[in-house]
């Protein structure tokens, strides 16, 4: 009979778990942080679902989600309230994950879907739909966003491909694409009237208030495929950190693995942006927050995913309960909540930061 033993491993800072001949060593923080974040996420999501014209307590929400509850509560939660919170979780998680992949590959904390042009490509599509479509824009906006984001992503990919993908070249080309998109978006704002400019700004900041099942369904399907594939493919990411030559020497197919990861991150960011707009700051901040909480060498993917979802859902909750914040798009609050926390974290970790 084999015994499972948890012990200190010979690698500093790691615990080892062993059962007979099979063993695994891990860092405590890289497990504890996502577990705590998931617990908080469940709590915030339940609180968020409970809000509305009839209040539902956290325990009732959890009960109903796991299959219990009466028909009326089930109807309210599944038909009316779940789409908003679910899309917050999905979009936030996808943006956090995409940001972590981009930042790891480019080895640059500024590399986010914003800087790479995907967000602004989606912005051109969505804002054109708003400015041209006027009041009939509700259907065209997600579609325009998706088409724009994917177009920008494809362009980024094709233009950076030159006997393989180089992280630095990709980021610079992304900046070029993003500059064009950004300027077209702000030019479009001056073309329409002031109401469509307001609607467009709401979209640019990121908004969850008018999502229903018809927009959550496709996102759920897409992310159910993309997220696991990304997490599986990310195995090679830590080897890529050593630089191309070392990674190649260690037997990694550098171009293939980097190309696939980038493609996945582009898809994640495009789908998320099309669903709820580029929720400001999530893709930039959560990988950096996760990095400092886990104390890892590169943005940890799983923690970035969970923290992205947590930040977005918490911001959505704050939008709905804070006095005077009602009707604000969620992106306003992700920045207002996320920025001070990131600043706090890096001031606290100041001595460990290296140039």
């Amino acid at each position: 009979m084999s015994r499972i033993a948890l012990s200190k491993s010979s690698i500093p800072g790691r615990r080892a778990i062993a059962s007979g001949p099979v063993g695994w060593s891990f860092r405590l923080r890289s497990l504890v942080v996502p577990v705590i974040a998931i617990a908080l996420l469940v709590l915030m999501a339940s609180l968020n679902i409970g809000l509305g014209s009839s209040y539902i307590s956290v325990s009732d929400v959890l009960d109903t989600l796991t299959g219990g509850g009466d028909a009326r509560t089930q109807g309210i939660i599944f038909d009316l309230r779940l789409p908003r919170t679910l899309s917050g979780i999905l979009v936030g998680g996808a943006l956090g994950l995409a940001g972590a992949v981009f930042q790891s590959i480019a080895r640059n904390p500024l590399a986010s879907p914003d800087v790479l042009g995907i967000t602004w490509g989606a912005g051109v599509g969505a804002v054109s739909a708003i400015v041209i479509g006027g009041n009939l824009a509700s259907l065209g906006v997600p579609l325009g966003g998706l088409v724009g984001g994917l177009t920008a992503g494809t362009l980024l990919y094709l233009l950076s491909w030159r006997k393989g993908i180089d992280g630095y070249r990709m980021v610079l080309i992304g900046i070029g694409i993003s500059a064009v998109g950004y300027n077209i978006v702000y030019w479009l704002l001056t073309v329409g009237d002031v109401d469509s400019a307001t609607r467009a700004t709401t979209w640019i900041v990121g908004n969850l208030s008018d999502v229903g099942w018809e927009s959550v369904g496709p996102v759920l399907t897409a992310l159910a495929i993309l997220v696991p594939v990304t997490l599986i493919c990310s195995r090679t990411l830590s080897t890529l950190q050593f630089g191309d030559d070392t990674a190649r020497g260690l037997g990694l197919r550098v171009d293939a693995s980097r190309g696939i990861l980038l493609l996945l991150a582009v898809l994640l960011a495009s789908v998320a942006t099309a669903a709820a707009g580029p929720i400001t700051f999530v893709a930039l901040a959560t990988p950096q927050i996760a990095l400092r909480l886990v104390r890892a060498a590169q943005p940890p993917l799983l923690s970035s995913l969970v923290l992205g979802a947590l930040l977005t859902v918490s911001a959505d909750f704050a939008v709905r309960v804070a006095p005077g914040a009602t009707d604000l798009p969620v992106g306003v609050l992700t920045a207002i909540l996320g920025a001070p926390y990131l600043i706090f974290l890096f001031i606290r970790n100041r001595r460990k930061e290296t140039a």
Partner: protein
């Protein structure tokens, strides 16, 4: 023995001629850029919806009369071109400085929160204090830019011995995002704020007169002098903080001077024209292709490149589109494909 010595002197001679060639190439690049700048300035005054002959322009400048053409030159085209010149120089220099101090090739002068600080101050001035004139915006924009930049620098330096590239970058990104959130919160609830914000935000050098230029010129001059004076220190800084210290550099002083110059230059530019995105990033990258990484050459070349770019974009906007596209948009539409092409074909010089 003699063969070795001979070989040594040969390679030394080769190295010498190599460095001489590089110096010659840089001098030629600087000269060509200056020439290009003169040409586009001339084009900026002559071309537009109504082309004006060089002779008439000369007359208008030396011996003005109350003729339509002279009035167009003196009160419309000249201030616009001069403002473009100043702002282009300022943003080109600020861009190369911010990339040096954050050691990040993706940094643009707005990274220190300058653009968002200015935008926030302008929006707040419109909504809270009901300021309506362009001159009012300039001072509020400039003050907001200064304040945001100071906050970022202070946050980047808390706790340790001065700011480092990574803390500056993250502090800048975080403060910018925070201000963006606040701006959105204000303009979404206020029609007047939205109306001002959306037109201010595209960035334009049109319909500004000499008074605007006069207000921001002193800050730009001081900023340019500080920037040029700090270039030797920046070369040492590019080797990393520790090496720079070991070489006897006063790292903290170089950084403070650099950040001050960036703030003055970008703050003045954004106050006068609104945020002109991408120029501050594009100019140093293009200039680096001629000069290489030596900041004593890079900074002046980036300044000239910035000015050439902005005036060219302005002229093209007037000639092609009859002034419907603001200069910021034109820079992105023309500059980005050039930038992408050069990065794709030639690769880029790494920082």
């Amino acid at each position: 023995m003699t063969a070795l010595a001979e070989q040594g002197s040969k390679s030394r001679a080769a190295a010498l001629s190599e460095s001489a060639r590089r110096r010659r190439r840089r001098r030629r690049a600087l000269g060509l850029l200056a020439l290009a700048l003169f040409l586009v300035c001339a084009a900026g005054i002559m071309l537009g919806t109504k082309p004006i002959a060089p002779g008439t322009v000369w007359q208008a400048l030396t011996d003005p009369a109350r003729v339509e053409d002279h009035i167009i030159v003196r009160s419309l085209r000249l201030p616009r071109t001069l403002l473009g010149l100043c702002v282009g120089l300022a943003l080109g220099v600020a861009g190369s400085l911010i990339q040096a101090h954050t050691r990040n090739p993706l940094a643009d002068p707005g990274l220190l929160g300058v653009n968002q600080g200015a935008a926030f101050a302008v929006v707040a001035a419109v909504v809270v204090l009901n300021v309506q004139s362009l001159y009012g915006y300039i001072w509020f924009g400039f003050a907001g830019a200064l304040l945001a930049s100071c906050v970022v620098f202070a946050l980047g330096s808390i706790g340790g011995s001065g700011s480092t590239p990574i803390t500056l970058t993250l502090a800048g990104a975080a403060v910018s995002a925070l201000l963006n959130g606040l701006i959105a919160a204000i303009v979404l609830g206020n029609r007047q704020g939205m109306e001002t914000y959306r037109f201010w935000h595209v960035g334009s050098i049109a319909s500004r007169d000499y008074a605007v230029l006069g207000q921001v010129l002193p800050f730009i001059v001081v900023g340019l002098v500080l920037a040029l004076a700090s270039t030797p220190g920046m070369n040492a800084l590019a080797l990393g903080t520790d090496v720079a210290k070991a070489l006897g550099q006063n790292v903290r002083r170089t950084r403070v001077v650099g950040i001050l110059a960036i703030t003055l230059l970008t703050g003045a530019a954004v106050g006068a024209c609104g945020p002109i995105a991408f120029l501050g990033l594009l100019a140093p990258h293009l200039a680096r292709m001629f000069t290489g990484p030596d900041y004593r050459w890079l900074v002046p070349c980036a300044a000239l490149t910035g000015a050439v770019l902005i005036i060219t974009a302005d002229v093209l906007s007037r000639v092609i589109s009859g002034d419907t596209f603001e200069v910021g948009i034109m820079i992105a539409i023309i500059g980005a494909p050039v930038f992408v092409f050069m990065v794709h074909r030639k690769g880029v010089v790494r920082i």
